[in-house]
Symmetry: D2
Subunit: 369 residues, 4 copies
C-alpha cells in the first residue's frame, strides 16, 4: 500500500527529491544468492545519466550508486537492498520565479493543491530525477532475471519523435547504441537530430514514443484478473514522468481490426506453440504466451520551455512564466532506459509470483499434455 | 496482494466463472452510512446486461445482484459487502471442440500453460462475464461518491468502432442512451449500425475505442509516485478483458506536440484555477487538477468468430477451429459501463486515500494562499 | 490492505454478519490442482458447529458450506474460491434490549463509536459466527498443505479452563476427540465438566487457554523482519474473537529464564539438526527451525452472562443489562478448530512466500553444506 | 507485501545489517506539514543507544540519524522520508567462530537454512541493531501524532526481570527515567541492579517483561476483522527481536476470570463513557474504547552467553560454542524504547486508516446520539 512502492513480491520503494542530499531505492524481495556489483548497476545508470550529449539536460550528475545493505560477499542475502545516489549538482541559484509561480504542464500546482507544501527546487519529488532510482533498481532486477530466467532480453528504443516515426523495415537493434536517440533506425535518427537542433534553437520541446520489448519470456507469467502482466506493465510505464498513454501489442490500432485480422493463429513448433503473428504483444488474458512482449508508451513534450506561458501565483494572481534552466528538449530520450528498468522489475516480480502460486506446475502442451 | 483484488482502501475482489453457479464481488473498505439498494446496483448491471439488442451476445442473463452482507437497514455498515450474481443461462451443451482445442486470441492456451487446469466452459474465469461483478461493485462506489464527493459525473461512451470514429463536434451526451452503441454522436451511431450488420452477417467482429470522463473531481486526488491517479485509472482499464491500450488526455497524440502546444495555460477564475486547454486530461504529476478527467481505451475485436482459424490441441496437434456460439460482434459496446464502473472505483479509492493521508489539509490558492 | 483479509499470497477475506442471509470467505491465491470437496471443508466446520453438546451455544446451525467458484472437476483452478455458509437459525426475536444498550465486554459500543451504525443482531460482524468462515478457509489451506507439504500435522486443544490447567504429563492427543473440551488430558476434562456445569447453573462464563501445534513443518519458513512466522501466527490468533494474549514456545515464561536455561542446544541427527529442547517453539528469528511449532492463546470469558451489569444507552443514560440468549459458557472450546484453521492458513501462506522468494534454494547442512 | 515493511498507510520499511555501512528506515505515508528535526528523532535514538551503562552492550554507536528526503524547510512534504544511521563501531575482528558455527537461540541456523547465505557479522539482518531504525521511524510517528492527535501519551517501562516483578502499587512514571531499567518502581529497580550484577559476573543473561501503554487515544481506532488495533499492536511487538509473547489488557490472566469478573462495566461520565475497570486493555472488538491501551510483551534472555553450549557447524559436525563479545545481559531493557516506537507507529497508522474510511463520521453517545 506504500504509494511510493512498485511491485508485489519484488518491491521497489523509491525516495528522494531532485535537490535533496540524495535519492534512492529500497529494494525488498530480491531472491538471495544473486551476484550484483555497484558497477553492474552503474552501467544502466550511465545509460540514463544527464549531460551526455547536446540533446539532454546539461545538469552534471555522476549518478554514482552505492549499495548500503542486502549484500554479503558480492551476493544478495534476501534482505532489503538499499541503493543510494547522492545529488551533487544542486546548482545553488535563485528559485524566485518558481517559488511563487506554477509552471504550466508541471506538477507544481497539483502538489501544492494536494499537500499544501512543496519542494519547488527542481520539481522536488515530481522531478524526473526520481527515475534514476528506478534504473538502479532495474539493474538489480536484471541481475536476478539473468540468474533465474536466463535468456530474457529486454530492449528499449525510441520509435517516434514529434510526428516523425522510425521505419520498422529498417529496424536494427545494433543501431540503438549508435545514436543519441536509442533509435533502431539510423536514417530516422539523423532526421531527428536535425529536427531537435531546430527545436532547441527555438527553445521548444517535443514528445516521443518509446517501445520496450522482452524476448525469451516463458509462457505462463501473469496473474489475472487484477495482476495481469499487461496491467502491471502498463501501470509501470504510466507511472513514469510525462507518460500519457501505453499500448500492448497493436495497442490503439487494435480498434481498427476485425477478429479475423487480429487472431494470432497457432501451430505446433519443435519447441512448443508458435504463432503466425503477434497482434497480442505476447500476452493473452494477462498471461505471457512465450512470444515477444511488446509495449509502447507516449511521452509528452517537456513542459519546461523558453516560450512565455500564462500562469498564476500561489496567491492567485494571473502572471506569465518562462522556464529557463537545463532541460531535455525531448524527455522521451532518457525515458528509454527507465522503460527498460520497469520492464525488468515487472518480469522478475511476476516470475516470483508464479513460483509462489504455481511452483513447478503449469500445463505442458504435447503428446503427454 | 490478492491478484483478484483491485484498489488500495476501497478494495474490490471479484470471484466466479462464466458457467459456475455464481459470480460476484467482495467489496471491502466502503465507508459506513451510505444508502445502497439492490435496485441501485441493478440499474448499472442492466446497462451492461447481455441480450439487450442484436449487437450483443444473445446469452440471456438477468444478472440479478443480491447483497449478502455489509448492509443494515439500508445503509452500509463499514463491513465487507458481498455482491452475488447467480448464473442462470449456462446452456448445457457439448463443449467438445474447445475442451481440447485452444481458441486463437483467447486466454485458453495461457491459462492452460500457467495453471495446468482450466475451466473451459465459456472461458471460465477469463470470460467477460467477470465484468458483471465489476459493474456491481462500481454501483457501490458511485453511491459512496455521490455521498462523499457530490457533483461528480462519470460518463462513458464509444468513440470509435473499427476505423470509423465519432465526430467530437457532434458529441451530445444526451445521445448516449439513445443508441445501442452508447455513442454521443447520433450520425456515427447510424453508420456503426450498418457496419456492424455487415460484420455480423460475415460472422466477423471488430474493435472499438471507449472514452470515459469524470467531471467535478476536485484538485488533489492521486498518490504519486506509484499510486498516481492516471496510473491507477490506466491499470483499471487495462485489466478489462480485450483492452490493448489506454490513453490519458491527448494520449498517444501527445508525442506529436511541442511543449508550446501541449502547455495547458493557467489563469485565475472565480472558483480557483482555470485552464486554457486540457491536453493533460485533468491530471498533472499523477494528481487531479480539477479539470475533466479523460481516459480512452482500445478494445480488440472479439476473438470468437465464424472464420476458420488455425490452432493446436492440448496434445500439440495442429488443427482448425471455428468459434460458434453467442458472442458480441463488438465487445467494446458492453465495455462502456465496465469502464465507468472502474472509474468510479478508482475515484472513490483515491478520495479515501487522500482523506487518510491528508485529511482536510492541502494548499489553497488565492490571497490567503 | 483489505481490513477483512488475512494473508500475503494465500489471501482469505471473510464477509458476513451473524444474522445476515449468509457469511463466507473469498479465498484467493490457492495453488491450482488441489483436490477439494465440500465434504472435506464440512468436516472441519462440523467440529466447530454450535449446539453439539450442552457446553456450547444451543443455536442450531448446519453451517453447510457451498463452494461457488474456483473449482473445476474437483480441483482448484488457481482462481478465487468463494465459500458461502447460509445462516438459517436467525431466531426472529425482539432485540429491544441490545438495540439501545451496549453490552459490557462486547464490541457494541466501539462499533457504534467507530462506524456510527451497527448491526446489533447477534453482534453483527463482531459475532464469533465470523469464525465459521475462517474454518472453511482453513479447510482449503489444509488440503493445499497436504498436497504441497505432506506430513504436516496441526493439532489444537484446550490446556486451561479458568484456573484449572491440564497436566502435560498426561497429554494424549488421542483423547482430544474423546471429550467435549478438545482436551488431551482425560482427567482434567472430567474436572472441567464439573466446573462448567456449576458455571452454567450460575449463568456465568469462564476463560480458557488453547494450544495449537504444527509438526512436520520444514526449516526455513518465515519472512523476517515484519512477516516473521511467529508474528503472523500471533496476529492470526489475536484476530480471533475474545483472544487477549498469544505465546510462542515458552511465551511469557521466557522472561523468567536465564540464557543458559533458554538455549535450545543443537546436535546433528540422521535427518539434519536436532535440538535438546524447544523453548523457542520451533521458530528462531521468525523462521521455522523444523521443530514442532507451538503457540498458545488466552480466550477471555464470554461477555454474555446472566449477571446484571451496569452499562449505558446510545443516548448516554446509565442503565443495567442482563444478556439472555444462547451463549457459550466457555467460548474457548469452540476457538480450538478456529486456531487450527488459522495455523493452516499461515503455514500455507508462508510456504507460498518461500517458494516465491527462495524457490528451491536455501542452505543445506552437512558435509556438502 | 514487503516483508520488511510494517503498517498499512503509515508504512515503515527498515533496511540494513549490524555491520554494514549503514541501516535505516524508509517511511512512506507520513502526512505533510509535520515539523520534524533530526534532533527530535535523535532524542529517542539516544534513549535506545547502546553503551550507556554497564547493563547494556558496550558497543559504542552514536546512532546519529540523518534525514535524506521527504522534508522541506523543516516540515514533511508527504513524500517518502529516508532515515539513515551509519554504522561506525564495526570492530574489525576475527569472526572465525561464528562463521562456521550456529549460535543456539540465535537466527544463525534458520537464516542459513532459509537463504543459503547469511551475513554472520554481528547477526547481520537479524541483529537487534535493526531496532534503531524502528526507533527513528517511531520518532516520525510521534511527531505526527502530536500534531494530529494531541494529548496522546505513550509510556514504556520494564515490569519484570527474571522472576522478579515490579510492584504496581509502587508504580511512579516519574521514576522511569531515574534508573537504568526504565522501571516505574524504584525499589524493584534496585533489586534488579543487584540481580543483574550477579548475572553479568556469571556471564549469563535473563529475560524480562516490558509494558507499553498509550493514554489519550480516542475511541474508534482499529479496523476489524484482520486489522484490529490489538492484532496490529501484537504483531508489532512480536516482530521485535527476542519477543516470545504479547498480552493485551489482562492477557493470559483473562483465562482465569469469570465473565462477571471480566466485564468492564460502563457508566456515563461528563466527557463520555467511563469504565469501572480495564480488563480489556482499552480495546473491544479490535477497536479502541478511549481507555488506556495496555500491552505487555515477554523478551527472552539474550542468547549470547559465556556458558559453553552444544551446537553444530555448517558442515554438520557436532561442536560447542561460547559467545564472547559485547552483549546485553538483559536485552529487555533496550526493548523499552522500541516498544514505544512500535506503539506510536501503530496508533498513527490507525488514525490515518480511520480518517480514510470514516472521515469525521462515527457515532456519538449522548442525548443527541
Amino acid at each position: 500500500m506504500s504509494m511510493n512502492t512498485f511491485g508485489h513480491l519484488f518491491r521497489v520503494t523509491t525516495w528522494g527529491e531532485s535537490h535533496g542530499p540524495a535519492l534512492g531505492a529500497t529494494v525488498d524481495g530480491c531472491p538471495p544468492g544473486i551476484e550484483i556489483t555497484e558497477e553492474m548497476l552503474q552501467h544502466w545508470l550511465d545509460k540514463r545519466k544527464p549531460g551526455q550529449n547536446k540533446y539532454t539536460t546539461q545538469r552534471r550528475e555522476p549518478d554514482a550508486v552505492r549499495i548500503l545493505s542486502g549484500m554479503f560477499e558480492g551476493k544478495t542475502t534476501g534482505t532489503p537492498i538499499q541503493l543510494m545516489i547522492e545529488n551533487t549538482d544542486q546548482r545553488s541559484k535563485d528559485y524566485g520565479d518558481i517559488v511563487e509561480k506554477f509552471r504550466p504542464g508541471h506538477a507544481d500546482i497539483t502538489y501544492w493543491q494536494k499537500y499544501g507544501i512543496r519542494d519547488y527546487r527542481g520539481g522536488g519529488r515530481s522531478s524526473a530525477r526520481e527515475t534514476a532510482a528506478r534504473v538502479a533498481a532495474g539493474g538489480v532486477a536484471r541481475a536476478a532475471l539473468a540468474a533465474l530466467m536466463p535468456g530474457v532480453e529486454i530492449a528499449g528504443y525510441m520509435v517516434q519523435m514529434g510526428a516523425r516515426k522510425a521505419e520498422p523495415s529498417r529496424y536494427d537493434l545494433a543501431q540503438i547504441e549508435q545514436n543519441p536517440f536509442w533509435c533502431p533506425d539510423a536514417e530516422t535518427a539523423e532526421a531527428w537530430a536535425a529536427d531537435l537542433d531546430a527545436l532547441r534553437k527555438s527553445g521548444d520541446s517535443v514528445g516521443a514514443v518509446v517501445e520496450v520489448t522482452a524476448r525469451g519470456v516463458p509462457a505462463g507469467l501473469g496473474a489475472p484478473i487484477y495482476g495481469k502482466l499487461d496491467t502491471d506493465i502498463t501501470a509501470a510505464m504510466m507511472s513514469i514522468n510525462a507518460v500519457k498513454a501505453v499500448e500492448i501489442g497493436d495497442g490503439m490500432a487494435a480498434a481498427c481490426l476485425t477478429g479475423t485480422e487480429n487472431a494470432d493463429e497457432i501451430r505446433m513448433g519443435p519447441n512448443g506453440p508458435e504463432y503466425s503473428s503477434n497482434h497480442a504483444g505476447g500476452i493473452l488474458g494477462g498471461i505471457s504466451t512465450g512470444q515477444e512482449i511488446i509495449t509502447r508508451f507516449a511521452v509528452k513534450p517537456t513542459s519546461s520551455i523558453l516560450t512565455t506561458r500564462k500562469t498564476i501565483t500561489k496567491s492567485g494572481e494571473d502572471t506569465e512564466i518562462i522556464t529557463k534552466g537545463r532541460h531535455d528538449p525531448c524527455v522521451g530520450i532518457r525515458a528509454v532506459p527507465v522503460g527498460e528498468a520497469m520492464m525488468a522489475c515487472v518480469l522478475l516480480d511476476h516470475l516470483l509470483l508464479h513460483r509462489g502460486q504455481i511452483g513447478e506446475a503449469g500445463g505442458r502442451i504435447g503428446p503427454q499434455g
